[in-house]
């Protein structure tokens, strides 16, 4: 997909379909062409960062470092189950219910 060092940006409809499938989005047929055009234009605009010298600065750990809290003082088992399950669209006997996958 590279031409003259720039990314070639005419997205194909099949690419939009593939991305939508990867992202688990069912896009209505009549919206795919608009999406292809808009995403293509946006990606072309974003592509301007390719113009910058390709030499990348060395990666480093960020200034803000990740800090984990201690894993202790657990809450009593089941304390939040009811409140959390109340938000699930489908449930049964204290479990979230989904369609079988096998």
């Amino acid at each position: 997909m590279m031409a003259n060092g720039m990314i070639y940006l005419m997205l194909k409809l099949e690419e939009i379909e593939k991305l939508a499938k990867l992202a688990r989005l069912e896009i209505p047929a009549e919206e795919k062409e608009t999406l292809r055009k808009e995403v293509g234009e946006i990606l072309e605009y974003l592509g301007q960062i390719q113009k910058l010298s390709p030499k990348e600065p060395p990666k480093e750990a960020g200034l803000v470092r990740n800090v984990f809290r201690d894993d202790r003082e657990p809450h009593p088992s089941g304390e939040f189950t009811e409140a959390l399950l109340a938000n699930a669209p489908d449930k049964e006997d204290g479990y979230i219910k989904v369609k079988k996958i096998l």
């Binding site: 992202a23 688990r24 989005l25 896009i27 999406l35 974003l46 960062i49 600065p57 803000v64 669209p89």
Partner: protein, 474 residues
């Protein structure tokens, strides 16, 4: 009747303490305004049913002589911040019916301070947008001109405060979502240093960019709220402590840097004139204005619009119709996911998820995401260099134009993105930034507010408040 127009948190606190009016009377005044104006403005998605009980509890505490400056102060909160037992939806249909099961840390802190929650404010769906036109529940109108947008994504929060439907509000800012609507509605908006305020209980959009912050009528009010909600939190590992960054005393004379090269193209003439007038004001306060160079700042917007959708595509994966919110059923589990997400996410959310998926996919990852991360570092280094050279704050306009017309940019997403040109840099770099009202641009028959933006080194909100207060006085 209480004069809400001129009321600030500080003044309201004095009146409550002296007994000029009660928290209940104050809340009633705001509820009356909401009833009158909200049907037209659409600032609130929901007004809570227990406002007067909350106010009654505050009055009890005031009577007993307790409480600080936020006791009894009525707030609007953005719909992506969780309050236990109340609906929260990020203005998205996919969260229809969702009830928060815990308090966000900022809410916990405001509750402890005795603040009153009036209702949840409208926003662009999942905070994606610059106009509140991406809300699933209709646009929020600008109180200064109802044919124009209030800005976004915290447009409901901004319109609520500007129209006296709340004394102050919380918003979230991923690329300007507090500062831009504050600017469009004539308010002060603060995006704190990355990590200054806990995001526990904020629905994540771009996790390396998001911050919660205040929208208020004065710099002093914004400072009061910031001090109430800031602080390290074991529930958000990115929060910083007071020791994370070294903080020196405030300088006697401020040096304000201006990146001139960045201020030409695409910026409204009235905005530029107003900005120059703002710089003159700062000079009158004794500040030195210095031209600076930020060579890579022109790449800020593309960098932002790569990193942000990449993080969105990952953060929004949790909305699948299984654990919470609404669900559209299909023939099998995969179809459940596809239909729920495809039909209940709005157009902008779908667009950004697709872009994020693209820039993270094999074959494009290096050209887009990795490159953007590298350029992000270059931009942050540019800012660091400028601050190291003795500059205390960097000034730009907040937005390239005053509030635009409803519908003006909805058919061209890229044009909408360009509205964020001056605000995204603070999120990319993690710097604190404030937008301060700087006057008006005259349209045909309306006065449209404009904003003046200042960015400071990490953890130096104090510099923004200090300069901001001087700016306000002139």
């Amino acid at each position: 009747m209480i004069d809400l127009k001129t009321l600030t948190i500080r003044k309201a606190h004095e009146h409550l303490k002296k007994g000029d009016f009660s928290a209940r009377e104050l809340a009633e005044n705001y509820l009356a305004e909401i009833e009158k104006k909200n049907p037209e403005l659409n600032a609130y998605l929901e007004v809570f049913g227990d406002v007067l009980e909350q106010a009654g509890a505050a009055d009890e505490k005031i009577k007993n002589g307790g409480g600080g400056v936020l006791l009894g102060i009525p707030f609007a909160t953005k719909d992506n911040i969780l309050i236990k037992g109340r609906r929260a939806g990020a203005a998205s249909k996919i969260l229809e019916g969702y009830v928060a099961t815990y308090d966000a840390t900022v809410i916990k802190k405001l509750k402890e301070a005795g603040a009153i929650f009036l209702g949840r404010a409208n926003m662009d769906e999942f905070a994606m947008g610059s106009s509140t036109e991406n809300s699933s529940y209709g646009v929020t109108k600008n109180p200064h001109d109802e044919t124009r947008v209030a800005g976004g994504s915290s447009g409901g929060s901004a319109a609520a405060v500007a129209a006296d439907l709340a004394l102050a509000a919380l918003g979230s800012d991923t690329g300007g979502s507090i500062r831009q609507p504050a600017s469009f509605c004539g308010l002060v908006g603060l995006k704190p240093t990355y990590g200054a305020v806990s995001r526990f209980g904020l629905m994540a959009m771009g996790s390396s960019l998001d911050q919660i912050g205040p929208l208020a009528k004065t710099v002093g009010d914004a400072e009061i709220i910031f001090n109430a909600i800031r602080g390290q939190d074991s529930m958000d590992s990115t929060t910083i402590s007071e020791k994370t960054y070294s903080v020196e005393n405030l300088p006697k004379k401020f040096v304000i840097g201006v990146p001139r090269d960045f201020l030409g193209e695409g910026v409204d003439k009235k905005v530029l004139e107003n900005f120059e007038a703002g710089l003159k004001k700062l000079q009158q306060t004794g500040a030195e204005i210095r031209d600076i160079e930020l060579p890579n700042i022109k790449y800020s917007l593309p960098v932002y619009y790569i990193i942000m959708p990449a993080e969105i595509s990952s953060n929004l994966a949790r909305f699948d119709g299984v654990k919470f919110g609404a669900k559209i059923s299909g023939a099998n589990l995969l179809e459940d996911y596809m239909k729920t997400r495809g039909q209940l996410f709005g157009k902008e959310a779908c667009r950004r998820i697709i872009i994020g998926t693209y820039v993270l996919s094999a074959g494009y990852y290096d050209a887009y995401y990795n490159r953007a991360v590298a350029v992000r570092k270059l931009i942050a280094d540019d800012f660091k260099k400028v601050f190291a050279s003795g500059v205390h704050a960097i000034a730009t306009p907040t937005t390239p134009s005053p509030a635009f017309k409803i519908g003006e940019k909805t058919s061209d997403p890229l044009q909408m993105y360009l509205a964020d040109i001056f605000t995204v840099t603070a999120n990319i770099t993690g710097l604190p930034a404030i937008s301060i009202p700087s006057g008006f641009a005259a349209s045909v028959d309306k006065q449209l507010p404009l904003g003046f933006q200042l960015q400071a080194p990490r953890a130096r909100e104090d510099i923004l408040f200090e300069i901001g207060k001087k700016f306000e006085k002139i």
